[in-house]
């Protein structure tokens, strides 16, 4: 246990101090600030166009352009970008060391290969968590500080749902937990490919390509695609949106969480199996 804690600490230090790790934080902060600036400038106008059609039916009162709405929009915007940022770091966790040769440095320590993969995977999860934390701080708390707090008008496939401001914090918390679980699948896929491939670019590109292809399949309502959609992890990665429906489809969300968890187990299992047998010839 002491040995595992030591190598986990090593991996966390390496992940945090790698220059590429900061790119993700910078991108998220920039996108959030950019959207907040745009909405601060033109938000009321845009919202008036959208809600204008509803004015004949509903009487809309209070501050609609609030921090909750901005956070909801930011999260919808970053649905594809967040996994890519996670892949950018986790796809390189082991393959980057193989390519640079530092893997020899790592594998000649007393730690077993299983422990090394687990430590790297956990450091990838820690990075994912930090990315989400930065996203949460900028998208939710900074948005609330700028635009104030109010009821959320959430647009989804079922229509428009209004969620009261005093009923929303737990939903944000749960949404971020599900988002963490979803991104952990990407981190696990990145780690798995990283054990198989010997250069740092291919696993990152493969994860990105997988996410893009799966997302495109998920976008089309076609019978042939409908058959495979339930098996694609990207289908379940957007289940956090269901937390902003009324009533909340709890069974669907739990099923999606189960599928995501299963993906993590499978990807991690393959990573450990493969890495334990891998010959380091580079």
């Amino acid at each position: 246990m002491k040995e595992f804690a030591a190598i986990l600490k090593n991996e966390m230090i390496k992940t945090i101090r790698r220059p590429r790790s900061f790119i993700g934080f910078a991108v998220i902060s920039f996108i959030c600030l950019m959207l907040q600036g745009a909405f601060y400038q033109d938000g009321k106008e845009i919202l008036a166009t959208v809600t204008g059609q509803l004015d004949n039916v509903f009487s809309i009162q209070g501050n609609i352009l609030n921090g909750n709405l901005i956070c909801y929009i930011v999260l919808q915007t970053l649905i594809v970008q967040m996994p890519l940022l996670v892949a950018f770091v986790t796809g390189d966790l082991i393959s980057g060391e193989t390519a640079s040769g530092s893997i020899r440095f790592l594998l000649t320590t007393p730690a077993s290969r299983t422990k090394i993969v687990l430590a790297k995977w956990l450091s990838g999860l820690m990075y994912t968590f930090l990315l989400l934390l930065v996203l949460g701080i900028f998208a939710l708390f900074v948005s609330r500080a700028i635009f104030g707090v109010g009821d959320l008008m959430a647009m989804n496939s079922e229509g428009l749902t209004v969620i009261r401001a005093d009923d929303i914090n737990w939903r944000w918390g749960s949404a971020f937990l599900i988002a963490f679980l979803s991104l952990s699948v990407v981190a696990s896929l990145g780690t798995m490919l990283s054990t198989i491939m010997d250069n740092s670019i291919t696993p990152i590109v493969t994860v990105m390509a997988t996410i893009i292809i799966f997302t495109i399949i998920g976008m089309f309502d076609m019978k042939s695609f409908d058959l495979i959609k339930p098996f694609l992890f990207t289908t379940h990665m957007i289940s956090w949106r269901s937390l902003f429906e009324d009533p909340i489809p709890l069974n669907t969300i739990l099923f999606s969480c189960g599928v995501l968890f299963l993906h993590i187990i499978i990807f991690l299992g393959i990573a450990i199996y493969y890495f334990k047998r891998k010959d380091i010839t580079t």
Binding site: K2, A6, N10, S100, F105, T109, P110, S112, R277, D279
Partner: protein, 319 residues
């Protein structure tokens, strides 16, 4: 009957001296259809410095990587300090330090931070003075806090050596440690290896293409070719001191040729381009010939002999 039981701490140095540090038995490694190492068996005794030689593609690096558990053998057994590597890898790795080919570190971290990672992986808590001593030992004092990406290859080799020594191993495996070192670095490394062996009793398995270094440093050697052992034994036993190729250049070649053609070396002498004298003679005869020439007022410009190990190596690997 009186039975005396001596504490293990008293006996262990004696046994460790007698024991084998590395024992390979019928080890093979196949990469698909290519046999890199073929039924290889050899032993490295604890306390000695072994040269591990072979031409390019002979299986040296694969063998060293198998000993360091970077590559899994296809068959056979590897034992280190009497323990099976397959069964006790973690315990064994605490006793081994290595440089496998070029040492690679994390360029975005300082030299000290890189070593801290390695020390932590070995559950060691190094103090500042311990780090200072280590950096001083490998000749990197003053560069501890510099990022490794600013280091030259030779400096990385030195840092690799510090990393190999950080956990005070009993065995050090050095694969081409001279690569990229300047002449002073090569001399320093040679002295350090000998010092580590003499003062700390560290067993060293040393692979290099600089055969003069191997001859200078190693007490024993193992030569492999095409994945199999060609020869192994003590360096002094394997290298004959007879039949050296000695080359001589003098200020006045004509007078020298006249003199030597009437001497006892006439039968083993060849003259190239009327100025270079090449002899086939024993090492012990060189001082005698030098004295003979100086007595006859022949000024020597150059006298040298080809490295014995080079000749021996070429002979056994090409045969």
């Amino acid at each position: 009957m009186i039975r005396v039981v001596l504490p293990h701490t008293i006996l262990s140095p004696l046994f460790s001296f007698m024991d084998s540090a590395i024992l390979l038995e019928n080890v093979s490694k196949k990469f698909k259809d290519f046999v890199a190492v073929d039924d290889l068996s050899f032993e490295v005794k604890a306390g000695d410095i072994y040269g591990f030689l072979g031409p390019n593609g002979s299986g040296k690096s694969t063998t060293l990587r198998m000993i360091m558990s970077l590559i899994q053998p296809s068959s056979g057994s590897i034992k280190l300090f009497g323990s099976s590597l397959a069964e006790n890898r973690s315990e064994i790795m605490k006793k081994i330090g290595c440089i496998i080919e070029k040492p690679d570190f994390y360029g975005y971290l300082s030299a000290k931070d890189n070593l801290k990672l390695f020390a932590r992986a070995h559950l060691l808590n190094y103090s500042k003075s311990q780090f200072d001593d280590l950096f001083s030992l490998v000749g990197l004092s003053g560069r501890e806090n510099d990022k490794v990406k600013t280091f030259s290859h030779g400096m990385k080799q030195r840092l690799g050596l510090a990393q190999a020594l950080i956990h005070e191993p009993k065995l050090i495996i050095l694969d081409e440690p001279n690569t990229g070192l300047d002449p002073q670095g090569i001399i320093d490394l040679r002295h350090l290896i000998i010092k580590l062996n003499k003062e700390r009793g560290i067993t060293i398995l040393f692979s290099s293409h600089i055969l003069s270094e191997v001859q200078e440093i190693c007490t024993n050697m193992v030569v492999i070719n095409k994945g199999q052992v060609v020869v192994q034994g003590k360096v002094d036993d394997l290298l004959s001191h007879e039949n050296l190729t000695v080359k001589l250049e003098v200020v006045h070649p004509k007078e020298c040729q006249q003199l030597l053609s009437q001497s006892k070396w006439a039968s083993v002498m060849e003259v190239h381009d009327e100025k270079l004298f090449v002899f086939n003679m024993g090492k012990d005869e060189i001082p005698e010939m030098v004295e003979f020439l100086s007595q006859n007022k022949i000024s020597i410009q150059r006298i040298d002999y080809r490295n014995q190990l080079e000749d021996y190596f070429l002979k056994i690997t090409q045969s």
